[in-house]
Amino acid sequence: MTALRLLLRDRVAALGGLIVLFALVVAIFAPWIAPYPDDAFESHIMQRLRPPSAEFPFGTDNLGRDILSRVILGTRNALLVAVAVVLAAMAIGVPIGLAAGWREGWLSETLMRVTDVFLAVPQLILALALGQLIAPGIGAAMVALALTYWPFFARTVFAETRRLRSALFVDALAGIGASPARILFLHVLPNAAPAVLVRATIGMGFTILTAAILGFLGVGAAPPSPDWGLAVSEARQHLPEAWWFPTFPGLAILVLVLGFNLLGDGLRDAADPRLRRSRR
């Protein structure tokens, strides 16, 4: 895989990949890594708001729970939300983009205008509204985020499909009897893959951020779940004394989002042969 090798040679992207990989490992082994795995749900009111120390490296929160443990346990939630939302958005957006790009006429127009409508609605507002409509919770937040992110995939795939629809190699494929599905998925989609991949990776970071905002606003994860955004929200009442309380969950959000974005940039350069020379 030359793409992988190129990615690893790109230091910045490799750093992003490392961060994401690290987060993935942490998420998988969270209950075993966390020093106090029970602190996800238990409270120890006697040791509340302790500053960072050897015993609690990130300090404790307003209910006396170890923040390090909660940050570690929260990784799982953050990644799960990101992956699920992006996969769902891709599952909706990619086929719509392909179909709209391939066909001409009312079907294509309808699909793209619906896409436009979804794009026009601010993501956060729709997520908030949906969160209120369905019972507030992480599930509603995920549905809302997936429903607002798919238009980006549809647009990206649509543009590429439209561009290639009249390409000679597509005509040739049709000429030797390849079905539209085969042409679209095996020959046109790979052309859009770099763009989709970048969108997906950056979308992961974006989703984590938006999910944290929703948690912060009280529409996403509900207490006592160890959600990063929720933790930052809970910490507001204890500022500026307990600086460690929002700092470490906030840093976790920052680092993971940064990791996904760096990886996304690197992936684009590595996976698209046409852009390959751009960085040299």
Binding site: A167, L168, F169, A172, P190, R274
Partner: protein, 318 residues
């Protein structure tokens, strides 16, 4: 005399579009003899590319062929959806840019076609392709296999596609203005290359162009297309030296090398949705007669393989 490799008989192509039904080709007949080279010449929009697409079986959606036949080695490839011609016709496209899928390696794409259509093992295919790359003078033929299409220059890409067209040992090579996108020096090289390959391998060639100079240097036979019909056909030298159809005569008068003062042809090629009745050239013809707008003129044979679709071919241009 062996039968022609390709014979187009009375072919008509219609395209249903938003502006109504476009009559793109009407009653087109031509043939490419075995080992011969036929050039199809005409202005933009006269149906040259559609003719090629019909032969290759890649007509756009909404196109139909109400009349006519395309015989390839004696078999009608319109009725069996080009089944019998598969892998036997090589195609050199006009614009080499999107002829290959940009995300796959050039070598892999050509080899995939060879696996389907050419005999031999993968090793043979690879060796033969490297051989072909050498024949079309691609620099570093072995490394070229592993390059992506965008890593070739324009001229190289055209060479690459000539190699691709020859990869399956076709009986006929069809070229659609393969040199219009190139600069003059590259154009000369590519034409020389094509000519060399055709004579060397005994290929038949159907060459579409709007450039009479290019035509004269490549083809022995010519068919002049106007608004979807054949206006004049015959040996290239004879037609170029003594054109008979008013359109051909005026077209030649437009060529900068041959004309003392550039005449031009007043008017434009009619829109395919609104073809004039009778002879399609009559609105622009300087020697138009009253009968011209009524009935389409039949091809008149002039002997020596020449034919012209104009009953007034001996009249002087006004």
């Amino acid at each position: 005399m062996s039968p022609p490799v390709l014979q187009v008989e009375g072919l008509a192509v219609r395209l249903r579009g938003e502006g109504g039904v476009a009559e793109i080709l009407d009653d087109v007949s031509l043939s490419v003899p075995r080992g011969g080279t036929l050039g199809v010449v005409g202005e933009s929009g006269c149906g040259k590319s559609t003719l090629l697409r019909a032969i290759l079986g890649i007509l756009p959606r909404g196109a139909e062929t109400p009349r006519g036949a395309i015989l390839f080695e004696g078999r009608d490839i319109l009725s069996d959806r080009a089944e019998s011609a598969r892998g036997r016709i090589g195609f050199v496209p006009q614009d080499p840019y999107l002829s290959l899928n940009p995300v796959f390696r050039a070598g892999d794409q050509i080899l995939e076609i060879m696996r389907r259509h050419a005999r031999g093992s993968r090793r043979d295919h690879r060796d033969r392709l490297v051989e072909l790359f050498r024949a079309v003078q691609l620099p570093d033929p072995v490394a070229a296999l592993r390059k992506y299409p965008h890593q070739f220059s324009g001229g190289q890409r055209q060479r690459l596609l000539i190699a691709a067209a020859l990869a399956c040992d076709p009986a006929l090579v069809v070229a659609d203005e393969p040199t219009t996108a190139l600069d003059v020096t590259t154009q000369r090289e590519i034409l020389a290359l094509l000519r060399g390959l055709v004579t060397e391998r005994g290929l038949s060639l159907l060459f579409v162009t709007h450039d009479l100079g290019v035509l004269a240097s490549v083809c022995t036979e010519v068919a002049v297309l106007y608004a979807g019909r054949v206006a004049e056909a015959g040996p290239t030298r004879a037609v170029l030296d003594a054109p008979r159809h008013p359109y051909t005569r005026m077209l030649l008068a437009c060529h900068p090398d041959r004309a003392t003062d550039l005449a031009g042809i007043p008017g434009t090629v009619p829109a395919a949705t609104a073809q004039p009745t009778g002879c399609r050239f009559h609105p622009r013809c300087p020697i138009v007669h009253s009968g011209c707008a009524v009935e389409a003129p039949p091809m008149v044979s002039l002997g020596e393989g020449r034919a012209v679709a104009c009953p007034w071919h001996e009249a002087a241009l006004a």
